[in-house]
């Protein structure tokens, strides 16, 4: 290695050169390091020239044309290996190839943060370089599917920032695209590109029209910036001077005359737009531009994938205010169409061109937010479901606030957050509010904050006040999803009733809860079209947890569904706050995130979407304690719905209860013949608040029941014991509810005997309640047979009967049609033989 100058080397640069030396020694002549100098362009950097033997690389047609030895210059930063070296050629033969920037710079890393390993040092870098040459020789630099590297523009941070939000225009093959970008001035140094106007299009005449075309709110500051898009990829070297740039553009027939004219035309239009509604302009304003001059340059070079059409890559050149003046002058003369001004115009252009030649280029920072070239970081995640949706979040507390935040960040189009509470000091420990918010409505503070996340796309509204009253004023149907994060029984019951009595189906409803120490969370999902709302799904979650034979949900029962109310309540500020749970910001945010992700997974696939489901999540514990089980889903199909005509209540019969009735009816048909009635006990509960009668379970006829073709009498044996056992097993959730019986081959309507029985309401219990559900399953022969054979049907009749006659009154004797002759009486239970033809067995009542 021969040094022409002896640069000051940092420890890292010395390491780099040592490594390079060792690589060269080991390469057996295929790589040589020739020349080390201090960099002239970049102070502190060291340049090392190396040559790479490329003679043996396999070549393909249309690939990068490599010489047998390729010389490149490495630029080694002073803080190597904590910054990656870069590499450039001393020629421009590679200009225009993919991953070659500004003619000379080879792009080896897409992201040094993840791809550059300091431990590998020069070994890794040279490997990468050799890979690059190999791929270049094989024509594989631009593999389909790999994002293309856009030409790098070295930016000047003082020149300002542009955020590109609207897809950019593309030049036609016959000429460049000329026009203006609509800029929304967001701050002193930042403007957003929110629209494009081609010169041939009609341009808005007023600022208000401009705002409308770009969907900007009233009062938004907006102006136009000249923009050109070239037909060809600019393969020139990075232009340090405006002259270089202008010369390069001229090759695409974009002359300085054109640039000046366009700049002036846009500047004129800006004056029209901005001064129309402003103060009367005086003569002094002539020198002050109406808006900053940003010249946007687009080149067709940016692609997401291989050989597809190139997207426009954008850079913006910030021009001095004088460009405004000279441009307008050019428009007033050279482009005026008046022949006597043509000569003057030529002089203006000449002057302007010379002025441009002397300018340095000041490239603005560009942040891309164009849909055509950006990919959302949450794409293909469950949260993608939320994009563009209308969401209602009930509760803006420990769960509601993070949930609303997640919806806003996922790009929901419309978000309503409802809460009546005020921010107070205690909640700052875990809810995303600040000291300044204390005393303000949570919903308003939250909505203000969330509105700032994506004001172009997401609109957030606050709904302050008591949720149960405010909800009745709100049309819920346009929403796509309601998150109930109130953890409030009253809200749940209110929603359940409102949902039941609504004729139109409700949006998806997800009810979120966390446990007393924020170690567990529950999400009860009642999807669009589910028979039950949040209260219903939570009730069946409790039932499932209590009756699970593996005891997997014992912790859940203790936390959420205890059989006895909890005695120790956490009241953080005695006397002035509701009882709440203990838990940190980390706990509640983690639980909220898990629950939201789970629910969105369930909603994402309509084909696989459960109707009712509950997700159970548990927080991790310490490394030494027993780890809690991971997330668990419970799912339920819809119930069978019958309406009790008298009360209007929903009778919701679980598939399990109906399956048991069907099994008993099928058994009856198998053992007793197809026409003998059967029946049994129903377990569940009547909820008068929501107007729902839950039928959880059904059992068959007790052994001392009497079964005939026209009459069913419910026996007593074992009923009390069975009810007791089920009450115990379900944590008292499922209790005696009523009785069911069948009308095989006849209508599911109460017979005269049934009606009489309903008024006296003799129940197989010692402490019989004063009302009970009477459920009759029946239907004409075809319906009945279909039910037994396929499970479709049957016809159902439900009536919540209340005892009106005295309990002591003798139940009416069944009226047996005499024409049937001797009646076969069957016992209930699992008997396989009838009692025999006896007139009427004595009643077996105690």
């Amino acid at each position: 290695m021969k040094d022409s100058t002896t640069p000051e080397l940092t420890e890292g640069q010395q390491l780099a050169l040592d490594q390079l030396h060792r690589i060269a020694q080991a390469s057996q002549g295929s790589m040589a390091a020739t020349h080390v100098t201090a960099s002239t362009g970049r102070p502190g950097y060291v340049e090392a020239r190396i040559s790479v033997g490329c003679a043996n690389l396999p070549r393909t047609q249309g690939a990068l044309r490599l010489r047998s030895v390729e010389a490149v210059t490495l630029l080694i930063p002073p803080n190597f290996p904590f910054a990656a070296p870069s590499v450039r050629t001393r020629h421009t033969r590679f200009a225009g190839a993919p991953h070659v920037n500004w003619g000379r710079h080879l792009c080896l890393y897409r992201s040094t943060a993840t791809e550059w390993d300091p431990a590998d040092g020069m070994y890794g870098f040279v490997n990468r370089l050799l890979d690059w040459f190999e791929a270049g020789a094989a024509g594989e630099l631009d593999r389909p599917g790999e994002p293309l590297h856009p030409p790098n523009a070295l930016t000047d941070h003082t020149a300002g920032l542009l955020v590109i939000r609207r897809d950019a225009p593309v030049a036609r093959p016959d000429g460049p695209w000329l026009g203006a970008a609509v800029l929304h001035q967001v701050g002193d140094t930042r403007s957003d590109v929110v629209g494009w106007l081609a010169v041939e299009d009609p341009w808005p005449a007023t600022l208000e029209q401009l705002r409308q075309t770009a969907a900007l709110p009233a009062g938004a500051r907006a102006f136009l910036a000249p923009a050109v898009v070239t037909t060809k990829h600019l393969t020139f070297e990075y232009p340090l001077t405006a002259r270089d740039l202008v010369e390069a553009l001229a090759r695409d027939h974009i002359t300085s005359r054109l640039l000046l004219g366009l700049t002036g035309f846009v500047a004129d239009h800006n004056r029209t737009l901005l001064h129309l509604d402003g103060d009367a302009q005086d003569e002094d304003d002539e020198d002050t531009p109406a808006a900053p001059v940003h010249l946007l340059l687009g080149t067709p070079s940016r692609g997401i994938a291989g050989d597809g059409p190139r997207q426009t890559h954008l850079v913006a050149w910030h021009l001095p205010d004088f460009a405004d003046q000279i441009g307008r002058l050019a428009v007033g003369t050279a482009f005026s169409g008046r022949p006597y001004l043509a000569e003057l115009g030529d002089e203006v252009i000449q002057f302007g061109t010379e002025w441009l030649d002397r300018l340095p280029t000041r490239w603005m920072r560009i942040y891309e937010a164009r849909p055509e070239v950006t990919v959302r970081r949450d794409q293909a995640t469950p949260a993608a479901w939320l994009r563009g949706k209308r969401i209602l979040v009930l509760g803006a507390g420990a769960l509601g606030a993070p949930v609303a935040d997640m919806c806003a960040r996922a790009g929901a189009a419309h978000l309503t957050v409802a809460d009546q509470a005020l921010v107070h000091p205690g909640i700052l420990a875990r809810q995303p509010y600040t000291d300044a918010d204390i005393g303000h409505f949570k919903a308003s503070v939250l909505a203000d904050r969330l509105n700032r996340i994506d004001p172009h796309h997401t609109r957030v509204e606050a709904l302050v006040g008591d949720i149960t009253t405010r909800l009745s004023e709100l049309d819920l149907h346009p929403f796509d999803l309601i998150w109930d994060c109130t953890a409030n029984r009253i809200v749940r019951a209110h929603l359940e009733r409102a949902r039941r009595t609504d004729i139109a189906p409700w949006p998806h409803l997800a009810t979120l809860m966390i446990g007393h120490h924020a170690t567990r969370g529950l999400a009860a999902l009642s999807a669009h079209g589910a028979t039950g709302g949040g209260a219903d799904v939570l009730r069946r979650t409790a039932l499932a947890a209590h009756t699970d034979t593996t005891h997997t949900f014992d912790d859940l029962i203790e936390d959420f569904f205890p059989t006895k109310p909890r005695t120790e309540l956490f009241q953080p500020e005695p006397g002035c706050s509701d009882a709440t749970f203990t838990g940190s910001a980390a706990d509640v945010t983690a639980l909220a995130g898990q629950l939201v992700t789970g629910v969105l997974y369930a909603l994402a696939d309509p084909a696989d979407r459960p109707t009712m489901a509950t997700l159970i999540v548990r927080m991790p514990a310490s490394p030494t304690s027993t780890q809690p089980a991971g997330p668990r889903w419970l799912t339920w199909p819809n119930d069978t719905l019958v309406t009790d005509k008298a009360t209007g209540y929903d009778v919701r019969i679980t598939p399990a209860a109906l399956a048991e009735m069907r099994a008993e009816a099928r058994r009856g048909a198998r053992v007793r013949g197809s026409r003998v009635e059967t029946g049994g006990t129903l377990l569940g509960v009547v909820d008068d608040a929501t107007g729902v009668i839950f039928v959880d379970e059904a059992t068959g006829p007790p052994p001392d029941s009497l079964l005939t073709e026209t009459y069913f009498r419910h026996g007593l044996d074992g009923v009390g014991a069975h009810l007791g056992a089920r009450r115990e097993a379900t944590g008292n959730i499922s209790r005696f509810l009523g009785m069911w019986h069948t009308h095989p081959h006849t209508a599911a309507q109460p017979s005269a005997t049934d009606r009489a029985a309903m008024t006296s309401l003799t129940l197989p219990l010692d402490d019989a309640p004063s009302r009970a559900l009477v459920l009759i399953a029946g239907g004409p022969e075809s319906v009945w047979h279909k039910w037994l054979a396929t499970g479709d049907g049957p016809d159902l009749y439900a009536h919540l009967a209340t005892r009106t006659a005295s309990a002591a009154a003798e139940p009416p004797s069944p009226q047996l049609p005499a024409r049937l002759g001797p009646v076969t009486w069957w016992p209930g239970g699992y008997a396989t033989r009838p009692h025999g033809p006896v007139p009427f067995p004595r009643k077996a009542r105690p």
């Binding site: 034979t549 199909p637 198998r670 052994p703 069975h722 239970g829």
Partner: protein
């Protein structure tokens, strides 16, 4: 209807067969029989599995036929008659004439080298009274697979007779069609009661070549008396010929649990008791495996109807539950069953299955 359930019917002579008949009645009432993807049988369970799988399509007809067979018993003396040498020769000739030569060929037929034993006789009775010349492929219910398991005493491997294929892991696949009667008899040859069944089959090895091997078939329960191993989730197709991966398993277990205390003093008694102990141990571990599979999420769930279950462990027993004590004394042979015994055992099966199903069935399998 998607078939997602695996049904395992345990061993235990006629007691098991009657218990399983009761269980099947409950499954029929619950309309779950059409959901069964595969039925696995051991010994008495093989008998009932075969009666159902190869029997009449209508449940009532099957019920009647199974009832008649169990009530009348598998009378071995009659079988002896059937196996007088002249009768055997007649049978062979008849079979050959009927064009089913391969079925009763030199190798798959009765061994000539040994006098026909009582298990051969059992096979003959089963042929005569239940299955005729039906082979394992002739399943009545479309979409249902059958696996009947026996144990080869020579290699101590399980030999599985299946509706799709038969064989054992050591020798490979049996190329000859197998009589249902042969498979049931082999599976039911409880070592302490019946001698092993000797058969020679042509095995197709996984490598491709064919070779004849003689197997000494005895009760499948020696290997796995609940019939669950064939339903184990995630079995590799490389190691077994039977992979079903059913997400829900219904296990009908006609075992009795704790053995009654008695001191066997004589050799046959001790032998018998040690076999019983082996069976019980195997059964306990099979039951706990079922729990493990469910707990680890390898299956969605299972339902277990267990004849020997302590009555007070049933969470909500029916009021007229046939108590365990009423069925505990019934022996595990194939003798004719008295009406009372038959009814108590079938009713207990039906009651237990109806009671456990709602406790374990998940919505997806209802």
């Amino acid at each position: 209807m998607t078939r997602t359930i695996g049904l395992a019917l345990s061993g235990g002579g006629s007691r098991a067969a009657a218990f399983h008949l009761g269980c099947l009645r409950a499954l029929n009432d619950r309309d779950l029989l059409d959901r069964i993807r595969v039925v696995s049988g051991i010994s008495g369970g093989s008998l009932l599995a075969a009666l159902w799988a190869y029997g009449p399509p209508d449940f009532a007809d099957f019920d009647t036929r199974a009832t008649d067979l169990l009530r009348s018993g598998l009378q071995l003396d009659i079988a002896r008659q059937a196996f007088r040498p002249s009768a055997a020769v007649r049978n062979l000739t008849a079979a050959a004439c009927a064009g089913t030569r391969q079925l009763f060929s030199r190798h798959s037929g009765v061994s000539v080298a040994r006098p026909a034993n009582r298990t051969d006789a059992l096979a003959a009775v089963l042929t005569h009274k239940a299955f005729g010349t039906q082979t394992m492929a002739d399943v009545t219910h479309p979409g249902l697979a059958v696996v009947l398991t026996a144990t080869d005493l020579a290699t101590t491997n399980a030999v599985r007779f299946g509706s799709t294929r038969s064989g054992c892991s050591r020798y490979g696949t049996i190329t000859e069609p197998i009589h249902v009667a042969t498979a049931v008899a082999a599976s039911a040859a409880y070592p302490a009661i019946l001698p092993a069944l000797e058969r020679t089959f042509t095995f197709q090895h996984p490598g491709g070549h064919q070779q004849q091997h003689t197997v000494l078939l005895t009760d499948g329960g020696v290997y796995d008396n609940l019939g669950l191993s064939v339903l184990e989730p995630g079995r590799s197709p490389h190691h077994t010929q039977h992979v079903y991966d059913v997400p829900f398993i219904i296990s009908c277990d006609a075992g009795l649990g704790e053995l009654a205390l008695k001191a066997p003093h004589f050799m046959p008694g001790r032998l018998n008791r040690s076999f019983a102990t082996v069976h019980r141990k195997a059964q306990d571990s099979a039951r706990s495996r079922l729990h493990e599979w469910a707990a680890s999420g390898r299956i969605d769930g299972f339902a277990l109807a267990y004849l020997g279950m302590q009555d007070d462990r049933l969470p909500a027993p029916p009021a007229d539950l046939v108590p365990r004590s009423a069925v505990a004394a019934y022996p595990t042979n194939f003798a004719a069953m008295a009406r009372g015994d038959f009814e108590t055992i079938t009713t207990r099966g039906e009651q237990l299955m109806r009671t456990v199903l709602p406790m374990y069935l998940r919505p997806a399998h209802r």
